[in-house]
Structure formats: structure tokens, C-alpha cells
């Protein structure tokens, strides 16, 4: 920067290809807060044929901190949850557009304009990218975002429990609110990793100081109820949507045979064989019901039909407990392929997953004592 030029006379038009000293654009968003700007001017002249120089410094001032952060819902869909589900997550991205590293203090809000509120304390997890954008066991529990570098962003999950008693289509909105705070270190460029900093205060209205880094809030208004522009906060809303499995269970019985009439209009007399059908129906548009297990106590005066009876044709065969059959209308079909069990008068069987719109059955036979 020494410019002691004795000088070129005014503007000669020489075309000069100079090797660029500076790249045309800096990669980052803006000059870092705390950078000093010093302007130095020098002058060269001659008096009486003798060259002279003079130099002066201007005021030095520092570049201040332009605080801006953006919280956004991280995907376009709502999180689908079941009633009474625990530790369900909604996901946001938080990005730092300040010309400095900041901490982001986290809080949340639930409005009264939706169908229900999530229960329990809302906790926050930092997504570690193992399954990017999906809440899983490797994400870290946090209370604030530590040292978010300028021009970078992270994914945060807000996790809560769903109450019982909600039905398919109910929605709960959760607003994640981020507040810009100092990175927690002292002086510059110390970074305060692991130290939660204090929230920035807006210095726009204060007496000005050229030598200190002051804060100018440049954030937009978010969706939070008290989040305005230029207040150091930003917020966004994400939604839980309930998709319950709507299960109906129907138990029907049918006399198949009796020792007098055989299969022609059999009656429920002692010795008759009766077939029970337990039908589990999952309504259309529900979530699939998984792990459906049935347990049924055989009523008094009935015995589990386990050995072939004797009598008029056609004696019903011993089928055991048959699961995963289908229905046609209100008739249980004899097409089940799974097997259940019976012990001490209790019939049990697993239907596995019953998808929306599907009915599956468990069928067993008893003898009237």
C-alpha cells in the first residue's frame, strides 16, 4: 500500500492487462462483523522541483453485525402420526444469514387454531445426517443450536407426544422459534463452542459507536404469534396429522352340524358343532393396523372341537384355529392360510398387518356340550 508515486502525468490511455489480484466475488455473504475498515490516502507532489509526500489516515470503523436467520419447514408434507404415539417429530431447517457465527436459542409455540395440541415437553434434536431429514436414534438432543457458521444451515427436529382420543385428519401445528444469540466465546475470533451465548440486543436505537461491533436486525417476520421483522427471531410452522387405524371387530357364529340333522338345518343342541368367525375390519383411508392379535375365551357350555365327531354326514372336519381368511359380504370364507392356537379354553391367533379397507378373519369350531 505504499503509494509514493512521483508520478504519472494525467491519464495516458494505455491498455493494460493486469493479472487480477482479487477474485471478482468473495464466496461468503458479507464482510465478517468486527472487520476494521481503515481508509488511507496519500498524496505526492513537488515543490520547487523537489518531490514531497504526505499521508493521512481516516477514521477507522468496524463492520457491524447484520443479524438475520431463517427458520423454515423442511419438507412439504405433514408428519403422519397415530393417536397416543410418543416421540413423534416435525422437522425444520435453520439457516444463518448473519455475517458472523451465531448460536440459535430454540423455543416453540402451539396455537389454538388447530385441532389438538401435542403433549409432554417439546424437545429438540439436531439431525446428524445419517438418515437426512428423518428423526432417528443417532440425532442429538439439544437445547440450542451451537455455533452455526455464517451462510450455513442445520436440520432440527421438534419432538413431542400425541394424545389419545384424536381421530384421523386431526392436525396439530407446532411453531419452532429461533432467536439469534452471540456464539458464546469472548472477543474475536474466539468461537465459544459448547457455550450458549446471550441473545443479541438490537443496537439500532442506541447511541452509535464506531469502534464496537453493534447489532442491526435484518430478519423477516416469521409465523410465530409475536415474531415481527427486525426483532432477532424467526419462526416457521410444521404440522402433525393424525392417521388412525379405524378397526371394527365382529364376531359371528354359525351352526354347521348336529348329531340328529347332520348338515340339513342343524340346531344348536348338545353335540352340535358351531363355527365362530371373528372378523377384523380396517376402514378405508386409515393407517394400516399392524401386529393385530386376537384372543377369545370360549364361552361356558362349549368345548373346543378337536377330534372328529361321529354322526350323520357330513361331519365337519377339525380345522383348528384358522387365521387370515377373508370375507364376502357378511360371510366368512374358508380361505385362511394362517394358524392360531387354543389352550385352556382360550383361542388366540395373529392377523399381522390389516391394511386399510381390508377385513381378515380368525375362525374356530366348538361343540355344544
Amino acid at each position: 500500500m505504499t503509494s509514493i508515486l512521483k508520478l504519472l502525468v494525467a491519464t495516458s490511455t494505455i491498455s493494460v492487462a493486469a493479472l487480477g489480484a482479487n477474485p471478482a466475488f468473495a464466496a461468503d455473504l458479507g464482510t465478517d462483523a468486527g472487520t476494521s475498515i481503515t481508509n488511507t490516502v496519500s498524496v505526492a507532489y513537488s515543490v520547487g522541483g523537489t518531490g514531497q509526500t504526505a499521508e493521512t489516515d481516516s477514521d477507522v470503523f468496524v463492520v457491524d453485525r447484520k443479524v438475520n436467520l431463517v427458520v423454515a419447514k423442511s419438507d412439504a408434507v405433514n408428519t403422519s402420526v397415530a393417536p397416543s404415539a410418543t416421540q413423534q417429530a416435525v422437522t425444520y431447517t435453520v439457516s444463518n444469514q448473519t455475517n458472523d457465527t451465531i448460536d440459535v436459542l430454540l423455543s416453540s409455540e402451539q396455537l389454538a387454531t388447530d385441532n389438538f395440541d401435542v403433549t409432554g415437553t417439546i424437545t429438540y434434536y439436531l439431525d446428524d445426517g445419517t438418515t437426512a431429514g428423518v428423526f432417528d436414534g443417532s440425532d442429538t438432543l439439544i437445547t440450542y443450536i451451537d455455533n452455526l457458521a455464517e451462510d450455513s444451515s442445520v436440520t432440527v427436529h421438534a419432538v413431542a407426544n400425541i394424545p389419545a382420543g384424536v381421530v384421523t385428519g386431526n392436525m396439530a401445528d407446532v411453531i419452532l422459534i429461533g432467536q439469534a444469540a452471540a456464539h458464546g466465546g469472548s472477543g474475536l475470533p474466539a468461537t465459544g463452542i459448547g457455550v450458549q451465548g446471550t441473545a443479541f440486543s438490537d443496537d439500532s436505537g442506541d447511541a452509535d459507536d464506531a469502534g464496537q461491533v453493534q447489532n442491526v436486525f435484518a430478519d423477516a417476520a416469521g409465523s410465530g404469534s409475536s415474531d415481527g421483522a427486525g426483532d432477532g427471531y424467526h419462526s416457521a410452522t410444521d404440522t402433525y396429522e393424525v392417521a388412525a387405524a379405524d378397526i371394527t371387530v365382529t364376531k359371528t357364529s354359525n351352526v354347521l352340524w348336529d348329531p340328529v340333522n347332520g348338515t340339513t338345518n342343524p340346531k344348536a343342541i348338545p353335540g352340535a358343532i358351531v363355527e365362530y368367525c371373528i372378523a377384523v375390519a380396517n376402514a378405508t383411508g386409515s393407517a394400516p393396523a399392524t401386529g393385530v392379535a386376537i384372543s377369545d375365551t370360549i364361552p361356558a357350555n362349549l368345548a373346543y372341537y378337536s377330534s372328529l365327531a361321529t354322526g350323520p354326514a357330513t361331519v365337519p372336519s377339525v380345522i383348528g384355529v384358522v387365521t387370515e381368511g377373508s370375507v364376502t359380504g357378511s360371510t366368512c370364507n374358508a380361505d385362511g392360510t394362517g394358524t392360531g392356537a387354543q389352550a385352556a379354553g382360550v383361542v388366540s391367533g395373529n392377523l399381522g398387518t390389516v391394511a386399510a379397507g381390508v377385513t381378515e378373519t380368525l375362525i374356530f369350531r366348538v361343540t355344544v356340550e
Partner: protein, 154 residues
């Protein structure tokens, strides 16, 4: 054009080396801001650079004056741009600039930038590293003036 000094009384004091403070120089920096006036228009005002953030527009003013008793000849004023400031032109347009740290000078329109991979392109305002005004007339004793240029905080 630089305010030309009309009377050039060339006082030649042979062999006399004058003290280096013949010319006084001062440099001020202002931040240009828009303020809303009561009648609904916006005015541009210049204020002290106390709160400055990236993107702000700065105005640099250099005041020079010949406070000696002899004219100053071969007069030039050089201002390197601070690193955090991008050059945005001068008010008079008579300056020459350098994009390579002060080695080569010329009007911006005449300079070209050689990038690392060998491409040559016309130099841009953002390439400017130094600004200089050279005067083709002597600055007589007692005269002075002001040079103004603008920059943007990167």
C-alpha cells in the same frame, strides 16, 4: 474536471526543500442512508459510519489544500481501497484505477483482467484495488479541493 487553479504563479525557490507538510490532506468516510421525510419522499443523507453492515453504501471524501507558500506541481492523490469495500465510482470521473495492487494504472475502461486460467475480460468496478487522481496543473499556494468516491461494504 478538477477545479483548475487560475493564477499559476510559479515561484521557483531554487534548491529549497520545503517541509513535507505543504499540502494538508484529510479523508472522511460517510455512510449513505435513505430516510423517509415527513412529506412522504425519501432523502439520501450522509452520516458518520457508526453502524455499518455488509451492503451499506459508503462515500469517501478527500479534502486537500496547499497550505504552503509555493505551488505544488506534479500533484497526485492515491487512495487504496480498503479490502472490505468494493469500488463504486467517483463523482468527477477523472480518476485512474489499478486492479493489480497499484502496479499498473489506467482508466477502468482501458484495463483488462487476466484470470488464473488465462481468460482475459474487461476489468470491472469490483476488481479495482486503488484509485488515483493526477493533476495536470500545479496546485497554487492556498488552493485546495475535494475528491469524492463511493464504495459498497462487501
Amino acid at each position: 474536471m478538477i477545479k483548475a487553479i487560475s493564477l499559476a504563479i510559479a515561484l521557483m525557490m531554487p534548491g529549497m526543500a520545503m517541509a513535507a507538510n505543504n499540502v494538508s490532506l484529510s479523508s472522511d468516510v460517510f455512510v449513505e442512508r435513505k430516510v423517509a421525510k415527513p412529506n412522504g419522499t425519501t432523502a439520501l443523507i450522509l452520516e458518520q459510519p457508526t453502524t455499518v453492515t455488509p451492503g451499506d453504501k459508503l462515500v469517501f471524501v478527500v479534502n486537500y489544500k496547499n497550505v504552503g507558500s509555493a505551488p505544488a506541481t506534479d500533484f497526485s492523490v492515491t487512495n487504496p481501497l480498503p479490502k472490505a469495500v468494493a469500488f463504486n465510482g467517483t463523482s468527477d470521473g477523472t480518476e485512474i484505477v489499478s486492479i493489480d495492487g497499484g502496479k499498473n494504472w489506467g482508466p477502468l475502461a482501458d484495463l483488462t483482467y487476466l484470470s488464473g486460467n488465462g481468460n482475459v475480460r474487461p476489468a470491472l468496478l469490483t476488481d479495482v484495488t486503488h484509485v488515483k487522481w493526477t493533476f495536470n496543473r500545479a496546485l497554487s499556494a492556498g488552493s485546495g479541493g475535494k475528491l469524492v468516491f463511493r464504495g459498497t461494504v462487501k
